[in-house]
Symmetry: C2
Subunit: 116 residues, 2 copies
DNA sequence: TCGATATTTCAAGGATTATTGAAACATGGA
DNA sequence: TCCATGTTTCAATAATCCTTGAAATATCGA
């Protein structure tokens, strides 16, 4: 994840509808979710969801595939981890002792469940 | 870090000048850097730097103190770690096996140095 | 108090981003 | 082929964000 891509990704995450879309896709896993279903779940018009999904795609955070009439979106886990690493490097750069403790909190444990 | 604050923080990080400012402040540590010095280092006008610093402050990512005529900014490490955790929870929610490996890469090691 | 320094605030303008609804495109089934 | 379905694209408007320079505020030293 280079800086240019990180800037775009941060912008993508700074909008409520997009954050909700990404959460749904992360939880859905590789199976993904069709655009129409996403529009229903976030209660936003199809064209507006399409706009936001394109922004997430530009940020590299989601990818698409066609399945019959539907277009199925799925989260790009590598991009998300890349973004986390980008943030960690900025946070820890030169001062690992300060942010490391906060990261020691339990995370990435199976069964932890999602934030609502 | 709640969702509302995370949205603001992502927005704050999605702008190049602000990301540069934050990096400088992270590297500077608790000593912080005065506004004027920051303006010089990022080569932006004082009033523009002030605008961006206020945005970082609104996001909770920096704090200020007055030192004589200067106003000294410093990074809020807790907010930064909180944002990282927010992202990790979204990323790993329900699917820890997917993003955990990426986070196992070496980070937070003393002497790792900053990204340029 | 006065002037110099350090920074912020404000208003105006330009640039980008978000929302909306209509139209276009692609797919699959009758 | 024709129609229904699922999705995107487009144009227009609204909203938000960024930049700029001038004016205001606060501090310090003479």
């Amino acid at each position: 994840m280079d800086e240019r891509q990180a800037l775009i990704a941060f912008g993508a995450l700074s909008q409520e509808t997009r954050l909700r879309l990404l959460r749904l896709l992360v939880m859905a896993g590789p199976a993904g979710i069709a655009a129409g279903s996403l529009a229903e779940q976030v209660a936003v018009s199809p064209s507006n969801v399409s706009f936001h999904l394109k922004e997430l795609e530009r940020a590299g955070l989601v990818s698409t595939r066609r399945d019959a009439r539907s277009i199925v979106y799925s989260a790009e886990y590598d991009a998300l981890s890349g973004l986390i690493r980008f943030l960690m490097e900025d946070c820890c750069s030169g001062r690992p002792e300060i942010c490391a403790p906060a990261l020691a909190a339990p995370c990435c444990q199976p069964g932890e469940g999602a934030r609502q």
